[in-house]
């Protein structure tokens, strides 16, 4: 079992980045804020508002933890977009640790607010034990599964596109410079018409043809072995959903669930 895994490195990088960003955003605060400070304050007060709305005003002091959790989750998901590191959140070790931290916070708050006896009394119904186990597991696997699934889908897409690319470019290349030139000409014509008439579809097809021709030319002249040219474009669009949207949603869901569970364990004092 490795001591240092990719996830460890990724979460360490996320931690360093977040702390550095926090340090630089949080220093030199002025009464008359600059542009960055306005954005920072907006973000911080949005987090405070979210926590106050979900957990109640008396629980506003939980915001730093929720914020750290939320930012770590988003950062852990987005770090996968670098292509160097895998998303920290697509490792169940990460999400399970966070979910267990939430559970321990809930138990701690319950004991603190209603006493150890009442905490134990809650388990007279043994189903509560099941739910207390199911809660962190479901949280962990929901987050992990979404990010991991997105990553796997993106990998499959990249592999598939690489295969398609080598197939198409190979077909053009094997027919020599003439077909390459024709493809390039078709691409250029399509691109030009597309720009003249302002049609997006023509532009895209033109770019595809031109790209294939360029890739084939590069391979023919022996500059590169294989150019997976079709990997350009489509993954960018899907990445918007699988990496950014999904990462944001899962971070929000995870921190919202944490807020709800901890908030229920910390009712307002009478």
């Amino acid at each position: 079992m490795n001591v240092i895994t990719q996830t460890t490195v990724a979460s360490f990088v996320v931690m360093v980045l977040l702390c550095a960003a926090g340090y630089f955003l949080g220093r030199n605060l002025k009464k008359r804020p600059g542009r960055m400070q306005v954005i920072t304050e907006k973000g911080v007060s949005m987090l405070y508002n979210l926590v106050e709305e979900t957990m109640g005003k008396h629980n506003a002091y939980w915001t730093p933890y929720i914020g750290a959790l939320f930012l770590s989750s988003i950062g852990g998901s987005l770090i996968g977009m670098t292509g160097i590191l895998r998303s920290a959140t697509s490792d169940v070790s990460t999400t399970l640790t966070w979910a267990l931290m939430t559970s321990f916070l809930v138990w701690g708050c319950t004991i603190k607010n209603s006493g150890f006896k009442n905490f134990l009394k809650g388990y007279i119904n043994p189903l509560n034990i099941v739910s207390d186990i199911a809660q962190p597991v479901s949280m962990a696997f929901r987050h992990f599964g979404n990010i991991m699934g997105g990553g796997v889908l993106m990998s499959i897409l990249y592999t598939g596109l690489a295969g398609l690319s080598s197939l198409v470019v190979g077909a053009v290349r094997s027919n020599g410079w003439a077909v390459t030139g024709v493809t390039a000409a078709v691409g250029a014509v399509l691109l030009l018409t597309g720009f003249k008439k302002g049609k997006l579809a023509l532009k895209i097809f033109g770019a595809v043809f031109a790209g294939i021709a360029v890739a084939a030319a590069l391979e023919l002249s022996g500059v590169f072995g294989e150019v997976p040219i079709l990997e350009v474009g489509i993954p960018a669009v899907l990445s918007l959903y699988f990496d950014i949207f999904s990462g944001g949603i899962q971070a929000l869901v995870f921190s919202l669930l944490t807020m709800v569970y901890v908030g229920m364990a910390c009712p307002p004092r009478r």
Binding site: V14, K31, G67, D91, V92, L96, T97
Partner: protein, 175 residues
Amino acid sequence: MLILTEVTQFESLVGVNPWTALFTFCNMIITFLLLKKFLFKPVKKMIDERQKEIDDMYREAQASKDEAARLQADYEEHLSSARAERDEILRDAVSRARKRETEILTEAKSDAAALLAKAESDIAQEKKKALNEVKNEISSISISIAAQVVGREISEADHARLVSDFIGKLGEGDD
């Protein structure tokens, strides 16, 4: 390539690596503490301070506005009361002057009437006195004339009666 490695690592992906979990836990705590110290606390403090300052400024502005309104109301009240006082004084003065005027007039009228009455009574008295004097004069003259004419004394009573008859006729003729 990537997909293959991921598939071969799938077993280890779903499993939990306790070292990773430990490091994640530590990283989370460190992130939490550092963000709290460097980002959340100072930013929240700054927001609250600014909010407080703005609230104070608004409160002060409201207070001075209230004060100004109070002062203005004060002044207006003073002004209107001064106006009312002035009107009061004027009205008082006018009415006093009217009263005095009528007083003076009535006084003058009564004075004039008194003077007139006195003058009339004086005149009447003077007239009576003059008449009496004339009467006496005439009677004495007539007595002396009569004495001389008649040469004898007539009784005093006859004499007086004669004279008064004469005077009466005289007065009638005079008026």
